[in-house]
Symmetry: C2
């Protein structure tokens, strides 16, 4: 039977870490144990670099307690990388795969990684080496096409919703002096991450009051008038900005010009736009403005992760093994939301070539008409990904006492 | 009996919010209910401004569910302020206190607030108005003298220790490109807050690797050589800096020059030193450096708060009422660590005048010899304040597979 391919399996983790990428790893390891076709279970250290440099570890020898504990360990247990495969590397990668008897290659990453996976598979086909390559989606950016959402996204969203609730209460408390707070979220090319902060909002007083997305070119005048508007109503405003925010000239408002801050894929490091806009607001509106930039902390919290996300990350890992063993190759596992009224997901596949290097932006229907907040449709979309209700905070009713 | 003073009580919350300041408020309210001398229980909205502006609310009318829920609500439920009382205000404050029949004034804040409380008491004594004033310590900065520690400190420390564990794992995973991470913590004048991140560290690989404190003037050369040192050993480094870090000229490395960013007490807003130093490291060592600045999020998380801190915050509120009813005045409640081998606290009092405007820096014995990390003594001091063990993260043992 053509489907029956015996050999070793290797998995690598790639790109920016998430809270749940290790859950996918554990899903792969535990599922691989169940299939006799899979002999050894290997992990490559630091992504594709681990294959190139033959830094490959035997995951079967790991203590089961360590493997189980990985599900409660954020970031990438095998290490990750941001390395753009050169033409000349592909041959070497395939040589290493052959040397290690690897027939199953599982790539856990985002769109750049799916491109890498695709190139390796093409070369293997060219040289007639039978290899099954399956992509496991992972990105807090949630910008992979053909999947309802990506493991990692629910957890950064839950973290940010809680952080925005907390930071919002902080600003509300000290608004007699510190009136404006900007929270800078991740999201280089899309507003998916910034959008999740909207889940923190129940009443008008709750943060956030304004959200600006990388998809919408920012007019500083519009920002200032939005902020004045909120502030005149409430006395304060909490503003969320995605790090990849662009000005009206369609260029990043703030980006590093350093060569060292440009990765192998040509992506420049954004960051600092929250601080930059806080200064503009202070200068123009004479309102004291501060900015919070949780940075990598927002994507690496297992304690505040979404239980739904943790579970789904495990299952996409599991499914990747099942698909590979059943004969699939050249595809990435997708999550499909079923039509049932309660939230359910099913798994599917999409060709790697379709996903590679594609970015799915936040759809227009998930942004409000004023382009400064999400729509109700986004809230409906994201709610099940939160993995449970957010904490409930109280507010005093404030019965004022009048004395003559 | 001189101790028996009948009248109303008012409490206000002041300065920067914390995760647990509302626990002190609930401690005050629930204890005040138990004393017949206390008639009405009032809260002033936005600190001393609430008294000046007669924005005083009746806390007895609040739903008990709301009051209980406040213990799980971060930031200041009554609102806070940063307002330096003018000479001319004191008379007005005392007039309002008299109009509202207030005999018990409880001030929940830091050193500036204790100064405010002391001035009000002095004026009340001058005009012969019998008033009992008790300070309830609150500051994430932990810089109040005469108390072992301050409510709010344990929780920011627990949050930062966890965030540093998370961000450290993130850097470890992506260190093939992003080698350096700087985490900027709060702490305007002292390194107490920055020091707590050390609790994240178990092995040499764990973050943080270096901590720089506002108490120690920073030599950039020393920083660069420290970073190179760590990086040559591990391949990456996670560095914690307190926002109030000063250069060799004893001036803040980064501070806002805006008038609007200088509060009523003359304190300028620091912030941005992490980003600044990341740029210096990138430029001088050619190591890609990023910075995380969690900002107000670090001080406002109830979900990751220290249970010990939450409980102690409640109890200092309770004790403040008991002391006031028993006839004490002009004092702040202190926490005293008992000598027993297990952690226990007792409560005491210190005169407001001694605390007012004083800053307790991180003692030299809590800093290591190289001035770039805490000492073991600090770890012993802080451990019980964490309120329980930190999560345990796993690391793969990495059994490398060698193929010929």
């Amino acid at each position: 039977m053509a489907n029956n391919l015996s050999g070793n399996l290797v998995i690598f983790q790639s790109g920016g870490p998430t809270a749940v990428i290790n859950s996918s790893l554990v899903g792969v390891i535990e599922e691989a144990h169940r299939h006799s076709e899979i002999q050894e279970i290997y992990g490559a250290i630091n992504g594709i670099l681990g294959i190139l440099n033959r830094r490959i570890v035997d995951l079967k020898r790991e203590d089961p307690g360590v493997i189980a504990g990985l599900r409660k360990t954020p970031a990438a247990g095998l290490g990750s990388c941001r390395y753009k495969l050169r033409e000349s590397d592909v041959e070497e990668v395939c040589a290493v795969l052959q040397d290690y008897g690897i027939r199953y290659l599982l790539v856990n990453g985002g769109n750049d990684s799916m491109d890498t996976a695709n190139k390796i598979l093409s070369f293997a086909e060219e040289i007639g080496y039978e290899l099954r390559v399956i992509g496991i989606p992972k990105t807090i950016d949630n910008d992979l096409p053909f999947t309802d959402h990506c493991p990692g996204y629910g957890s950064i969203g839950r973290w940010l919703a809680i952080a925005t609730m907390d930071a919002g209460r902080d600003t509300e408390a000290i608004h007699t002096t510190d009136r404006i707070k900007i929270i800078e979220t991740m999201g280089r090319n899309s507003g998916w991450v910034a959008a999740t902060t909207a889940m923190a909002k129940v009443t008008e007083m709750d943060a956030p009051h304004l959200i600006y997305f990388p998809e919408i070119l920012l007019s500083i005048d519009k920002l200032l008038s939005d902020v004045e508007n909120v502030c005149s109503r409430l006395g304060y405003a909490v503003i969320v900005v995605g790090e990849g925010l662009c000005g009206e000239d369609a260029k990043l408002l703030v980006e590093s010009k350093r060569t060292i801050d440009t990765d192998g894929f040509g992506h420049r490091q954004p960051g600092g736009v929250g601080h930059y806009l806080a200064q503009i607001i202070s200068d123009n509106l004479d309102l004291k403005s501060r900015s919070d930039k949780p940075g990598t902390i927002q994507r690496a919290s297992i304690l505040l992760s979404s239980p739904t996300d943790v579970e789904e990350a495990y299952r996409v890992g599991q499914m990747a093994v099942r698909y590979a063993v059943s004969g699939k190759s050249g595809c990435m596992v997708t999550l499909e939301r079923s039509d049932s009224p309660s939230y359910e997901v099913e798994f599917g596949l999409v060709e790697l070539g379709k996903v590679a290097n594609q970015v799915r932006c936040l759809p227009a229907e998930f942004i409000n008409e004023s382009k400064n907040f999400v729509s109700g449709k986004f809230v409906d979309y994201f709610r099940p990904l939160l993995g449970g209700p957010l904490p409930r905070y109280e507010r005093l009713r404030k019965y004022f006492v009048v004395r003559p």
